[in-house]
């Protein structure tokens, strides 16, 4: 397989991901007022049940860019993690056909003491790529990220923009069948964002499946051909971008504010 150019492997409309009745519930700890007295009197931890996802059904075909929108805490990132197989669902089923590359909350750069180069290599190896596969694509990744010599500096010295440039470069250059981008575009500058959107469009026209989680509604409207709206773990609506985004904005009552369209 030639990894350097985008090749067509799936037919448009083929099923990439199907999700059946998916639910995710987990426990988190709560500590209302951490006081010294409380620390002495109460050694156990109080827990609260969080229903992150409730009965989600969704089919995603190849050749589409699916936008996922919703308020903070709606379950968007949880859904992405379940799809990528990182978190097991509490109930329900996820079927994936193809290779997934995830760009969840800037996943690359997990160890800030290591250089960008080391992080890219480690991230790729963890994802199951071979050293040769990563080496053969490394130059392209570095070129796409356009961060220059910084690639060999520890990642703790990176700005958030440099971070997301590198993370994005890794996930698109690796040529996944299915690409998940979780709010990674918001920190890049306008020029880099444009380049990313072009790359996404190119992947889409080669019948890859792309899921874009974003609060930037203008971006979602521009490149997605399908949008789902999540609210408190439930799938509220799915359909054409314009329609779903309008309904979402109405629910937030921010329809008139231009800030909703911006990437912040």
């Amino acid at each position: 397989m030639n990894l350097l150019s985008v090749s067509d492997q799936h037919n448009s409309g083929d099923r990439a991901i199907s999700i059946h009745d998916l639910s995710l519930t987990y426990l988190t700890t709560v500590e209302r007022k951490p006081t010294f007295r409380q620390a002495l009197t109460q050694t156990g931890r109080k827990t609260r049940e969080v229903k992150a996802l409730r009965g989600i059904n969704l089919e995603i075909p190849y050749g589409s860019v699916l936008g996922v929108i919703g308020a903070n805490g709606a379950g968007k990132s949880s859904l992405m993690r379940v799809i990528s197989g990182i978190i097991p669902p509490t109930s329900g089923r996820v079927e994936v056909e193809g290779k997934i590359s995830t760009l969840l909350a800037l996943g690359v750069g997990f160890n800030p003491r290591l250089t960008g180069r080391e992080n890219v290599i480690l991230g790729g190896l963890a994802a199951g790529l071979t050293r040769e596969e990563i080496q053969s694509q490394f130059d392209e990744i570095a070129a796409f990220a356009e961060i220059g010599d910084a690639i060999d500096s520890p990642m703790k010295t990176y700005s958030s923009g440099m971070y997301s440039r590198l993370a994005f470069a890794v996930s698109v250059v690796v040529e996944p069948d299915i690409l998940i981008i979780d709010e990674a575009l918001s920190t890049g500058d306008a020029k880099f964002k444009k380049k990313c959107l072009e790359r996404i469009k190119s992947l889409r026209s080669h019948n890859r499946a792309i899921i874009l989680v974003s609060h930037a509604l203008a971006t979602v409207k521009e490149i997605c051909n399908d949008v789902v709206w999540l609210n408190q773990g439930e799938l509220m609506m799915r359909g054409a971008p314009g329609q779903v985004i309008t309904a979402y904005k109405e629910s937030l009552q921010v329809a008139a504010s231009p800030a909703a369209d911006e990437d912040v």
């Binding site: 990182i86 969840l104 160890n111 480690l122 190896l125 963890a126 994802a127």
Partner: protein
């Protein structure tokens, strides 16, 4: 529990990850310090000298043979406890990696053991020089070194897996670790020899997994003695038994880790 065959095939596919992760972690630990990678040799030497001072002050006297026993035992002890300490943190500090990519988590404790091995190898050279100068030199018993090392690595991995899992559920674990390893050092025949234990304390030979390892290890280097059959039985039982137990615990809990960190 995942399907074991498929699971360990995935682990095997990640072997370059383990090598690369361990190497870069070691590099990062000494990055920017004046002596750099030399610390891998300076650290254990200083450690042995400090404990030698302790024996000399408390015990009143100490000779070359004592020092050779001390260094042999101390370095092996640190092989296991370094793996335990780094293993304990391997899952909880792997946050971003665990939350953002799907891979068998088993590779993280393995990496902790490999890092510990990388730190141990230079100490073998130091130990070789010390025993050549102070204790009995070459003997056929030296041929048992690889076998003991393999079992000791299995034991190290077992403790890394065990404490990695414990620390996910009880974050207090890592606060106990310095005291635990310190107590363990005093319960192991490092600062003394098993033969000098009071009769009431002799069960330690069987209850402390590290006792047969340190006894055999020091016996090989200092007396040129092959380990006894009892010692072999204990080493096999402890390392394989604990490894199976710890792996089961880790694998049966692994899927929950991403929700807990």
């Amino acid at each position: 529990m995942p399907k074991l065959g498929e699971y360990f095939k995935q682990v095997w596919r990640r072997r370059s990850f383990i090598a690369e992760f361990s190497r870069s972690e070691l590099r990062a630990q000494n990055f920017g310090s004046l002596f750099g990678q030399l610390w891998l040799i300076i650290n254990p030497l200083l450690l042995a000298l400090v404990y030698f001072l302790l024996i000399m002050v408390i015990g009143g006297s100490a000779d070359g043979r004592r020092f050779a026993h001390l260094t042999a035992g101390l370095f092996l002890f640190y092989l296991v406890t370094n793996s335990l300490t780094m293993g304990a943190k391997s899952i909880t500090s792997g946050g971003k990696l665990i939350l953002n990519s799907a891979f068998p988590r088993f590779v993280l404790p393995i990496s902790a053991t490999v890092i510990s091995l990388f730190k141990f190898i230079p100490t073998l050279v130091v130990l070789g020089i010390i025993t050549a100068l102070l204790a009995s030199p070459l003997s056929p018993a030296l041929l048992f070194i690889p076998a003991i090392l393999i079992l000791a690595l299995l034991l190290s991995l077992a403790f890394a897996l065990l404490f990695a899992t414990l620390n996910v559920y009880f974050r207090d674990t890592k606060n106990f670790l310095p005291y635990l390893t310190r107590a363990w050092l005093y319960l192991s025949p490092v600062l003394y020899e098993t033969s000098s234990l009071k009769p009431a304390l002799t069960p330690l030979k069987y209850l402390n997994p590290l006792s047969p390892f340190i006894d055999s290890w020091s016996g090989i280097f200092i007396e040129g003695n092959a380990p006894s059959l009892t010692a072999w039985a204990l080493m096999f039982a402890w390392s394989i038994g604990l490894f199976l137990l710890a792996s089961y615990l880790f694998l049966s809990r692994e899927r929950e880790f991403a929700l807990r960190i």
